[in-house]
Structures are given as C-alpha cells and as structure tokens.
C-alpha cells in the first residue's frame, strides 16, 4: 500500500545479559499509514517505548540493541542508515514528543530558540523567516501571546504550555511521522484533554501519521484510529480502535479493557449517616511564610490549603479529588501530622489531633495510618519486609514475637505469602510492594487510613487488584478511608463520597452518585468532561 509511512518488519531488540528477559521487543511487525493515529498500548515492561526509540535509533547501545528486522521509512531501512543520514531524519521527517516536557526542554535556553534550532538544522529559512514561522507554529498549537512565550524559559511556562512547545517543535518542519511517547501522562486531566484534542486537530490538518504510545485505554478511546496492544515485547492484538475497544478478541486485551476503572459511581449504603470519625474544620496551610537566612529571600506565600472543612463517617470512605497543586496532598499531610496546619483543627473520634507534638501524637498513630503513593520509595530498601511491617506495632508496645506473628497474618490478608517477611523490598513487583505498604498501614489496626494516590504508580491491571484489595479490607475490618486521587474514575470505584479540591478550596462535596449525575461547580463539570474515554465508557 502506498499509504504506508512506516513499516516495522520482524523487529527484535536484545536486552543486556543481566536483564530478566532476553528481548525487549521480540518479533514485532506493524505499519503506520498516512493520516492515522496508531496507539501502541501496553503496561510497563511491554517494550512499547523501546520499540519507539529503536525507530529513531535512540536506544542505549550497545547494551540494548536491534539484532534483527527492518524499519522501513519512505522506502529506506532506517537501521541501515549512517549516523549522518539518521540525524537528518530525526526531527526532520520523523519528530518525537516525550513524556516529561520539563526534562525534554533545555532549562537554560529560551523556548523560541529551541524551536529555532530545529528550523535551523532542517530548513533553509533565514533568521527573520524562521521567527515568523515560530510565531505561526505557536498560533497553531494555541499558545497565547506568542511574542512573549518565544522569549520565555521553560520554567516560566505551565506543564500544558511546555507540552505545546514540544508539539510546535515536532511540527516545525512538517514531519511525515510523529512519535509521541506518553505525551500526556505527566499532565493533569483537564490539560491532558486539551493536548489530546490539539494533537488530533493538528494531525487531521497536516495529514501526519502519529504513533501514540500510552498505557491508558481512556486516552486510546479519545484519539486512536488503530490500536496495537503489546505485552512482554510481543504484539498481542492489532486492529481498528472501535474493534479493540468494544470487541477485543485476545484474552489479554479483554483483561486490560476490563481493568479500566468504570465511571459507574459507587452508591452509599442506605441507612442513617454514621457518626463522623474524622472531622477537619477550617484548616489553613500556607507555605513560604517564613523568611530565609538573615531575612533574605522572603519568598511569596503559597496558600496550599484554604479553610477546608470535611468529615469522614465511621466505616465510610471519602475521595479527595483534585489536580496537581490543588492542595490535596498537603491536606493529607496536615491530617496525619507530617505538616503543622497554620489554623483550624483536626479531630479524630472527637479528640483534637492537630497541633500535638510528635510525642503526644505517638499513641494516636494506632488509630490513623497512611498508604503512600510510590511503592518504590515508600519501603526502606535496607530493611526486611517483616521489619517494615512490624515497626509500627513494636513502637506501640507490642512484643516482638507477637508483632512478627501478626506480620505473617497480615501478609496473608493482603494476598502475599507469609515467607515474604524474610525478604527485601527489591524482590517484589510494584503491585506486591503496594500490598506490603497496605499491610504496614494495617499493622496497628487503625480506624482510619489515609491513602495518598496509592495506585497512580501502578499498571491498570495491578491497579484494579489493589483497589479490590483495599475495598475488601475496608469491609472486613470496618475501616474508614480518606482516599486522595487525581483520577475521578478511581474515586468513583472506591469511594461513596467525593470532595473536589481546586486551588486549596473545596469546590464541591457530596455523594459520588449525585456529583456524577448533577455536578454543580463548573470545575467539577470540567473534570468530568476531561476524563479520557468518557464517551466510550458511557456507551460500553
């Protein structure tokens, strides 16, 4: 077919001998045609990024290298090109958009100059013409005040604006193919929705082929024409987006689609509202109030949490939903005592716990525990799992033997083998580590658990298992939970009540079902609309 822009034929990428598997990509063949978006979906370790990097020969050779196959682009095998020739293709005929624009852009160079560099290398335009072209590009990607942004440094722009700059760079010389590696993963949902719309719009206008790498089926539903599902370096399924999303043939794809948290809100148990267990009243936390050394550098104040009040009923769970910078994590840290609030109070079971010293707080740790976000950073790599879990109870005065016996029970409870107690965290996968983190929080038999984005670092299928585990534990142990998340889908699955935070304030609060059916605040409505794949999930 003449429409084919890029053809990958039987690509094999070998990993270094000390890796846990031999090939990062084992025998992939696929094609991308003109004027289409091909989504490559897979969980972490599926080899999707390695495949994309091998197209532009960006692999960390010689440790990771292509051993077999061809990558044919515009009639030429990219793998056979000289270094000089591949450099002309990179950024010229094939452009790349990376996941984290803050890292992909040079922090000490003005963004206009960074776009200019691409034009300088790949076009014959004169400096004045290039400037006009840059302004044009900035209009194309809907960057406001192009003249000002040209002379800005990356840190002066927001995450969404930086990603727009990256897209402008990618479009600068009208490439035939754009490879986008998780370009919206680091962005907030509302920004993500805008960027997805922009990519779609520009791709239609220019007829470019786009290879879009993602782990999120919601994003796939928003943007894909065709979908390639990868697992362990192999192509599992390839087909039109509607087919794969609605009628997946292969078991693995079916599992992945089923694991996407549904938008069906959880319903509150009937009956009278239980007495509140945790009450937060008028809490305020401002950062940057103090001055620096010798009074210099008294920076501007950031009002992270502004007069927030909320309550979690006994046995209930409340989701705090908000984008980055909404103050949701700060609020959690104030409640658990990792930060001291400036004003307001926190009561647990009627007892005031805010403003206590660390020593006075110690006995209350029994009732209030936390599950952390990053399963790789939240377990001390030098301690055995058993030691990590038993620490809390032992501080509370449980004798060592009793604590270790409890650890084995807890490990069984969270779905791990009791022998795991003797091993170190690095021997476990991300999902297993998060189970250990949950066991640690449960070890002191708390009444309330604060979970700070506990599944955002996990793959969807693992995410589903961990959410189910949390749910089951809540029911069997009659736990209350404060669940912090940026993902409305996750909030809907786990919690019967939601509080939406924006810029440190609660903009809406209520039963999940009510908020989903009749969102009141404009911000809540925007958040709901921005959930990727919302149309697909409603029809499914």
């Amino acid at each position: 077919m003449s429409d084919v822009v890029l053809g990958i034929e039987n690509l094999i990428v070998e990993l270094p001998s000390w890796s846990d598997r031999k090939h990062a990509v084992s025998g992939i063949s696929l094609e991308i045609r003109r004027n289409e978006i091909l989504c490559v979906v897979g969980e972490s370790g599926s080899g999707k990024s390695v495949m994309a990097k091998s197209i532009l020969r960006l692999l960390p050779e010689p440790h990771v290298r292509v051993t077999e196959g061809r990558i044919v682009f515009e009639g030429e095998d990219l793998l056979a090109l000289s270094d000089e020739e591949i450099r002309a293709v990179r950024g010229g005929r094939i452009a790349m958009i990376f996941q984290e624009p803050m890292v992909a852009l040079n922090p000490v160079m003005k963004v206009g100059r960074q776009i200019d560099e691409v034009l300088e290398v790949h076009s014959a335009l004169k400096p004045a013409q290039r400037r006009t072209r840059i302004v044009e590009l900035m209009h194309d990607v809907h960057l406001p005040e192009a003249e000002r942004i040209i002379d800005s440094y990356p840190h002066e722009l927001s995450g969404g604006q930086r990603q727009r700059v990256m897209i402008a760079m990618a479009l600068a010389v009208e490439p035939a193919l754009i490879i986008a590696d998780e370009p919206t993963t680091a962005l907030d949902v509302t920004t993500q929705a805008q960027i997805l719309r922009l990519i779609r719009e520009l791709q239609r206008a220019h007829g470019t082929a786009v290879m879009f790498i993602t782990h999120d089926f919601g994003v796939v539903a928003e943007i894909a024409d065709r979908v390639a599902v990868m697992r362990h370096g192999e192509l599992v399924e390839l087909g039109a987006a509607a087919e794969i999303l609605n009628r997946p043939q292969v078991d693995y794809t079916q599992e992945l689609v089923a694991a996407v948290p549904s938008l069906t809100p959880r319903v509150r148990d009937p009956g009278p509202a239980p007495a509140p267990l945790l009450v937060v009243h008028d809490l305020v936390k401002t950062y940057g109030a103090g001055s620096g050394f010798l009074g210099f550098g008294s920076g501007r104040k950031v009002k992270a949490v502004q007069n927030v009040s909320l309550a979690v009923g006994r046995g209930r769970s409340l989701a705090l939903v908000g984008e980055s910078g909404s103050g949701k994590s700060t609020l959690a840290r104030c409640i658990i005592g990792l930060e001291t609030p400036d004003a307001g109070e926190v009561r647990l079971d009627g007892e005031r716990i805010s403003g206590l010293s660390r020593r006075d707080m110690r006995p209350l740790r029994r009732d209030l525990q936390m599950v952390f976000q990053d399963p790789f950073a939240s377990l001390n790599p030098r301690h055995r799992v058993g030691h990590i879990i038993a620490l809390g109870p032992m501080i509370q005065g449980v004798p060592q033997e009793q604590a270790w016996a409890d650890v084995r029970e807890l490990l069984k409870l969270v779905g791990l083998k009791p022998e795991a107690a003797e091993r170190y965290p690095h021997e476990f996968s991300g999902g297993q580590r998060q189970r250990i983190g949950i066991a640690r929080a449960l070890a002191v038999k708390p009444k309330l658990i604060i979970a700070d984005e506990p599944v955002s670092a996990l793959d969807v299928s693992v995410q589903k298992q961990v959410l189910e585990l949390l749910d089951e534990l809540r029911r069997t142990l009659n736990l209350s939970m404060l669940f912090i998340t940026h993902d409305l889908r996750v909030a809907a699955t786990v919690c019967e009540e939601i509080a939406v935070l924006q810029n440190g304030r609660v903009v809406e609060r209520g039963a999940t079902a009510d908020i989903f059916a009749r969102p009141q605040a404009p911000y809540t409505r925007a958040l709901l609309d921005a959930v990727p794949g919302v149309a697909w999930q409603k029809t499914a």
Partner: protein
C-alpha cells in the same frame, strides 16, 4: 544482574589493589615477627647498597632499610586508618544532623564546616601539630581535623535526599523517634558514597602523614615511610635506595587504595559503570 561481590571482585584492578593492601596489612600486623630487631638499631655499616647482607641496604647510620619499611607500614597505616575513622565518624555526625534538622542547625553546622574547608588542609595540619607537639595521637587528631569536612558535606546531601523519600515519612507516621529514624532508616541508605569517600580518604591520610613525617613532625621514635624519605633526602645521589624504596611503597599503597575505592564505587553504583 550480578551480585555486589561478583562485580567487586571480578574487577582485575580491585584484585591487584586488594592484593597489595593485604600484603601491606600483613607487614604492619606481623612487623615484630618479620623484623624482630628495633628499626632504629644500628646493624651494619652505613650506606650498604641493597644486596646480600641487607636486602634493601642500610641508611646513613647503618640502620636496616627493610626493617624500617616493615615497621613504617605499621605506623603509617595505623595513623591513616585511625584518622580516617575519626574523620568519618565526626563528619557523618555533623552531616547527618545538618541534613536531618535543616533550618538553623544546618546553617550553623555548614558555616563551621566551610570555615574548616577554606583553610588549606596541609598547612592547617602543620599548624595543629606545631601547637599540639608531634605524637602519634596528635597526628591522628590533626589529620582527622583537616579531613572531615568533605564527609560532612556528602552525608548532608545524602541525608537531604533520603529524608524526602516516602519510607522516612512512613517511619514518622509509625511514630518512630528522630534518632531512630536517622540511624535506622536514613543513615544505612547513605552508606555507599560514604564507603567510597572514606576509602579514598585513607590514601589522602597516608600522604599527609608521610609529608608531616618528612618534615620531622611525625610520631617520634616510630619509624614511618615519610620519616625515612626525610632522613634519606640529603643522600639521594650517594644512596638512591634510601628515598626511592619508601617512596615507591607510598606510591603503590596510595594507588592500590584508589583502585579499590573506585572499584567499590563501580560495584556499588552498577548503573554508572554499565550504561
């Protein structure tokens, strides 16, 4: 992924360095057995070249150079290892407190550290010995005093970065005390850069000790490599071995420590070495 032991001992440079260091340690520990006579005793004619009677010849007073080397290994290694241990202990304490408590404690401790760092270290050691009078203990003190600041800075940086990790917050939430968090959660995770810097610090300490002894400010009545070079320097043209032999000992020992230190670094941070 290979284990630490394989990565460390699989490196030929580490093996060579370790072999020499083990030899030097054996010399130091067995000095009284290997060379039972006092290294300061006059045992033959002066300026006997290396050969049959005395393997490495005799010096200007007819002392056995080989016996001097063996006993010198003991003095030099003992002083440099003890001073490094002292510097690492003190530097770690200062760095850990500064990094963990930050704020005003950090400011105060780091200003003091910088004060020590801005004085040229060898001159500082010289002044300290001149004030304290030369002795083995004072050498240890002087070398430790000039070498702890880099350790403090490294530990502070590591503590700052480890402190931000979630497992430390988890320990706070579990109710662990500050001191326990610092010693059981944070410091064990700062060990690898500490071990590498500490091992390289031994090499610097050997050089400082030798230089001080060369100037006659070493431990009195104790043979050391620097002292031997200092005593032999006026006879370099007549008796080359007096300076050369202890000089080469210092060179090889310092080189070996550096090889082992870099090997440790590569083995503890495999990603840097591999990619």
């Amino acid at each position: 992924m290979k284990s630490f032991r394989e990565r460390f001992l699989g490196n030929p440079r580490v093996v060579a360095g370790l072999a020499w260091l083990v030899l030097a340690l054996i010399l130091a520990l067995m000095a009284d057995v290997l060379a039972p006579t006092d290294p300061f005793a006059i045992v033959g004619d002066p300026f006997l070249p290396p050969g049959a009677g005395f393997l490495l010849g005799t010096d200007s007073l007819g002392r056995d150079v080989l016996a001097g080397l063996i006993h010198g290994a003991r003095t030099t290694l003992l002083i440099s290892i003890l001073s490094t241990l002292a510097a690492v202990a003190f530097g770690t304490l200062v760095g850990a407190l500064a990094g963990y408590y930050s704020g005003i404690i950090d400011d105060a401790l780091m200003r003091i550290t910088e004060f020590f760092q801005t004085i040229p270290s060898f001159l500082f050691a010289l002044v300290l010995i001149a004030i304290l009078s030369p002795s083995a203990t004072n050498l240890v003190i002087a070398i430790a005093v000039v070498s702890w600041p880099p350790i403090a800075r490294i530990v502070r940086g590591e503590v700052l970065s480890v402190k931000a990790r979630e497992f430390v917050q988890a320990a706070v939430v579990a109710g662990q005390r500050d001191s326990a968090i610092l010693f059981s959660q944070i410091l064990p995770n700062t060990l690898s850069p500490l071990i590498v810097t500490g091992s390289l610090l031994v090499a610097t300490a050997i050089l400082t000790e030798s230089a001080l002894s060369f100037l006659g400010l070493g431990a009195p009545n104790q043979m050391s490599w620097g002292f031997m070079i200092g005593a032999g320097r006026s006879f370099m043209r007549e008796a080359w071995w007096l300076v050369t032999v202890p000089g080469v000992m210092i060179l090889i020992t310092v080189l070996s420590i550096n090889l082992v230190g870099e090997g440790l670094n590569d083995a503890l941070n495999p990603r840097l070495a591999d990619l």
